[in-house]
């Protein structure tokens, strides 16, 4: 390489409150190193690479880059574009290398989940086969916390802090109005792994506190047991606050859905359109005979910068920073992992996992974190989550009383190749 190489940073999949902190870590560390010419943003993840839709992050104002730490979602732009095997997506993979070559890109920093690590791994292998000097580093990102090899994923601590707080707060609402609005269901994200639902258990400091019941896809769900659980809590407390992940599964691992039999319609005969929250509400109203309502936090839970975990922001930044340091230090084909030190006081450092290994792994809530009844968490889960939600992330509040988020100027790079898609 004669000229200093360029780097690309891209964001993929569902955004989080701190994926921009990771990008900030990459950009600031790359600039600081003096070994990278320009850090390019790929607009909308791998789509930006394929479309040669790149912009110069190093040309943005320093305060814009710094403000990434206070801005939720994926400021560079994300996507859900999935590359398959090298054979099936051959043209895409070759295009990625062509774009890298055209713009002197020799570093690829990709923040995402399993699929993104898979993509980064394949691009890396293809470059090696083609003799093109490329360093691919993965940065863990998923609110679902389901990546293997890392103690936890940046993004998860913030959603955990937020949903646990929401449970504590809405639980007080149900407590105040229990004489009529007796049951509340909080539906949270997590289709295959119940980490987000499990985090809300931290809010129940005593038997009075919400949530009283927590359902996760890792614990086999039956309507009969569920109705019994609800009746039991209702008998004890006169109210019920339930948290459920968006995916619930039966003993054979099949998703429980409203169209399984008698619960396909609500008490008014309406066909259920919604997800788990709407379904559980209908079951409770018809089988327990108490009024139920549900809250669906949706994308608000993963973008809740206004109450993000400071620990999460700092660790996400560290992951971005370490990806650059390691890449410049000769590491390649790795994802940065978070390593919890074996110390009574919480300490978190970083390590590495092979991209290929991460791509094929999935971390579920382990049995020892779920109570025997399959409807709440254990102290082991509390010990796991407690240090992660520590500290409140800084936010810049504007004169209008609302948070101020940054936006890039997005100076586009001149395209050098023919349009691809």
């Amino acid at each position: 390489m004669t000229a200093k190489p360029n780097a690309v940073v891209a964001q993929s999949g569902g955004p989080t409150a701190v994926i921009n902190s990771s990008a900030c870590g990459v950009i600031q560390e790359a600039i600081k190193s003096g070994k990278i010419d320009r850090v390019l943003g790929a607009t909308n993840g791998i789509l930006g690479v394929l479309k040669e839709d790149l912009f110069d992050l190093t040309a943005e104002k320093p305060q814009t880059i710094e403000a990434l730490k206070q801005t939720p979602s994926a400021a560079i732009g994300s996507c859900r574009y999935k590359l398959k095997s090298i054979e099936e997506s051959k043209a895409d993979f070759e295009r990625i290398l062509d774009v890298f070559k055209a713009h002197n890109i020799h570093y690829f920093f990709y923040a995402g989940g399993n699929d993104s690590m898979d993509t980064a791994d394949k691009v890396n292998n293809l470059a090696a086969d083609a003799g093109y000097e490329l360093t691919c580093m993965g940065i863990p990102k998923t609110v679902d916390n389901d990546l293997a090899f890392t103690d936890h994923c940046p993004g998860y601590p913030s959603v955990a802090k937020y949903v646990a707080t929401c449970s504590a707060e809405a639980g007080r609402d149900t407590e105040a109005l229990y004489t009529t609005d007796t049951c509340t269901i909080l539906e949270v994200m997590g289709r295959n792994a119940g980490w987000i639902a499990a985090a809300t258990g931290l809010a129940s400091r005593c038997v009075e506190d919400a949530p009283h019941l927590i359902y996760m896809p890792e614990a086999a769900f039956t309507f009969e047991k569920f109705v019994e659980d609800v009746k039991q809590v209702y008998k004890e407390l006169g109210r019920v606050f339930i948290v459920s992940g968006e995916g619930l599964k039966d003993q054979s691992g099949q998703y429980i859905t409203a169209d399984q039999g008698k619960f396909s319609k609500d008490s008014f005969g309406h066909v259920q359109l919604g997800g788990v929250g709407a379904m559980l509400k209908a079951v409770i109203e018809s089988e327990v005979g108490i009024k139920a309502r549900f809250n669906l936090l949706g994308t608000n839970q993963r973008s809740a910068m206004h109450f993000a975990s400071l620990t999460d922001v700092n660790e996400a930044y560290m992951c971005g920073q370490m990806a650059v340091k390691a890449a410049l230090d000769g590491q390649n084909g790795k994802m940065i992992t978070l390593v919890r030190e074996d110390d009574p006081e919480y300490k978190c450092t970083t390590g590495f996992a092979e991209l290929a290994d991460v791509a094929n792994g999935e971390k579920k809530v382990p049995p020892e974190y779920i109570n025997k009844a399959g409807n709440h968490i254990t102290d082991a889960m509390r010990d796991y989550i407690r240090p992660l939600v520590h500290g409140q992330a800084l936010i810049n509040i504007g004169a209008d009383g609302l948070p101020v988020f940054m936006r890039f100027e997005r100076k586009p790079l001149e395209k050098k190749l023919t349009p691809y898609m």
Copy 2:
């Protein structure tokens, strides 16, 4: 009166983030005055009076009372029990007076909305007819902000701050993932008045910012116009972020639903809403052909103490405090109002409205706060809401990183009457 009189404070209807701040104002001011013996809490609003289910708030620890300011929902307990006319609910009204007499209660402080002010007014009239010395004072409370005679209602600024922030945040999520997850609908509270939906307009500081479209029950809704609006924004920005109140009405004032005419009603006879988000999602997916999702904040929006408005907390406290001061000063049959001073700098003082007048009034979002297209707000609305969301309420964060809320010890008063219900 030979012994010093007792006072009752009660909370009614849907909780807010700051109704406990009003209670704190009542309790601390009553203690400070030296003119009231005990402040009694009526467990679950007027139900607690009817059931003689009272506890001694003045026996609670001072720090518990102080922590009310940092605790959402209705800590004394709320209810949705509706008293009708004096003729129809004669036994209830007489029972209330009997309980007041039995416990030497000569002050009644009732925090609630229209229905609660109606109840307080009727109790007051009945006491006067019976020659029982009673002072009834109302404290405004409703997230819906639909009470007449007051510039705004305590509770509204906090929900406004929270939903506007949620719009800004989830809007960034939609912006990042627009290539697949193109449209997001945020369904917020507001059955007949669109104040909460309107507040989210503060988050759209520029054309890029969410929300792009806001629907309020005050602006006649048609599916045809809605589909046109969505197509227009989609064409301009490639994504659409929509906020809708839970009640939308057509030109004749009828609620719009996917399934007209199959509503249940709540215990006040109010039409039970919900499902606007799911309905609009279905319309967009079928008529515009883009993927849509909806977030339903539900009771989380009215209990979001973790991002409540400091202005709201302080004003709610002031309302409670002023209710006591005014009562001891000889006022009766009034609700405390918030008065915005005619000054470029926001200043808020208190005034009075007749309970009977408040009971029959309803304040909707005025036409000058809604844009001509009926799908967003005007600068006049921005000017109205901006100072209200100012400042962030204090919260006590525990060692586990989550907010800590108070709970009363609830030393029950000995019952002196026969059970009533």
